[in-house]
């Protein structure tokens, strides 16, 4: 049957739909990456607050939330740029659609901001106090209740988890695109977000212990990420034809070069080797490995969004 003729000719030529789906462009992967990395940073900062690391004066949990708000806002602006009916964006917030991951995401983003602000208020930066001196009073009040700080930490970890998971569910809920349609995608995006976050915080962490801890954690995340890829492909390759074909797009198809070289090679394996040598004190910590991890995470989102749109159900149509 393999040599049989299979030819489809269509008169449809809708922009960004034909010849293959390309509706979502750079805005979506940029948002998924920034959202995932902010999710990871919230979990890291939340964990530092929960475990009492905020008692260290140079704990990175004081700078993470401010940077997170900036990055998340850039990501949300990218999302806004993607909308083709921009003036109606407020419609997102006059309803809650239980079955729509995007509706969940819109509301999760709304509650992420107060959690980040609560984290900032534990110790506002000097420039914030200059603008609004009253912040120091609020900070004092919060610092009188250690359990409150612990709970702000827990809140940041939970919301970080929800934000990171949602960036994956947004795609994986689409049964129409076989490459996205795996329940492992949220785990992949969450771990990739954590790994990019650990790498990013490692770059600016002033505390030596934290810096070392984050490099070790990042190595763990990168190894887990490799395992998730193996499990994801095992699932696809033993699934129905459309999913098998979707996996082949990455493994040996059109997207294989960028996937193997940039996502797996330069984004995971090589930085993992460099960082393993660094944490074992064979070489010095440099910015090279973290930057490779961060760029690899960004390219991963681009590859998954683009290849996912390219993957389709038509193969299943031919018996």
């Amino acid at each position: 049957m393999m040599n049989d003729l299979i030819e489809l000719t269509t008169t449809r030529n809708n922009p960004h739909v034909d010849p293959s789906m390309a509706m979502w462009e750079w805005q979506i992967p940029v948002y998924l990456f920034l959202g995932g990395m902010v999710a990871g940073m919230m979990i890291i900062s939340g964990y530092f607050l929960f475990s009492g690391r905020h008692k260290e004066s140079n704990c990175s949990c004081f700078s993470i939330p401010t940077i997170s708000i900036v990055l998340l806002s850039i990501g949300m602006f990218a999302l806004f740029l993607d909308l083709s009916h921009k003036l109606y964006v407020w419609r997102l917030f006059t309803t809650f659609q239980f079955k729509s991951p995007m509706s969940w995401g819109a509301w999760i983003l709304i509650i992420v901001y107060p959690a980040l602000i609560a984290n900032i208020l534990i110790r506002p930066a000097a420039w914030m106090l200059k603008i609004y001196p009253k912040l120091s009073e609020w900070a004092n009040k919060i610092n009188q209740h250690p359990f409150l700080i612990k709970n702000i930490g827990i809140l940041n970890m939970i919301l970080g988890l929800m934000l990171g998971a949602y960036t994956g569910v947004l795609l994986s809920s689409m049964g129409s695109r076989p490459l996205w349609n795996t329940s492992l995608l949220w785990v992949l995006f969450l771990v990739s977000g954590l790994s990019a976050a650990a790498a990013f915080v490692h770059l600016f962490a002033k505390n030596k212990i934290e810096s070392e801890l984050l490099a070790k954690a990042d190595n763990g995340f990168l190894i887990v990420e490799l395992f998730i890829f193996v499990m994801m492909f095992l699932g696809f390759l033993s699934s129905a034809r459309p999913h098998f074909e979707a996996a082949k797009l990455l493994l040996n198809g059109a997207y294989a070069p960028v996937f193997w070289v940039f996502v797996i090679g330069l984004g995971i394996v090589i930085p993992l080797i460099i960082q393993l040598l660094a944490v074992n004190h064979k070489i010095k910590h440099t910015a090279i490995a973290p930057i490779m991890v961060i760029v690899g995470g960004l390219i991963l989102r681009f590859v998954i969004v683009s290849a996912g749109q390219y993957s389709h159900w038509f193969n299943a149509h031919f018996k």
Partner: protein
Amino acid sequence: MPRYGMVIDTRKCVGCQDCVVACKTENNIPEGHNRDWILTESTGKFPDIHLEIRTERCNHCSETPCVSCCPTGASHIHDVGGVVLITHDVCIGCKACVEACPYDARYIHPDGYADKCTFCIHRVEKGQKPACVEVCPTYCMHFGDLDDPNSEVSKLLQSRKWHVNLADAGTHPNIFYLV
């Protein structure tokens, strides 16, 4: 409560595109966009070649990933006939529904909102047929209530062999192709 659907005879369709032109004029579809189209599928091995010509559009499925993914409720199921519609001034143009449709039946209108076939509900509610069905010169298209066992479409489905597009995608499409 009716359930509207179409039954299309692939043995009568010649791919003349009258349905495409009728849709474009009736619904004022912008240039370069299509709510319906002709698909020609050639399969087999020479000399045993099989050709099927299909006029395709939104399948107005019973299981609607395009409706459930919509974050604003713009994409919805109409009160009459289970027809899948989009409320233009509620749509934010996020394109999730375009991605969610396994048939790629939706597109973004140049004015910004998601758009697709409406089964010409504005005509159907006045007792008329959809424009594409109305103009078909080979009478290969039939529109009606699939839940009424005495309707023309139900009788055709009982008497002829048929298939739907991408049955494995699990969307329970309501457009049937007679073979």
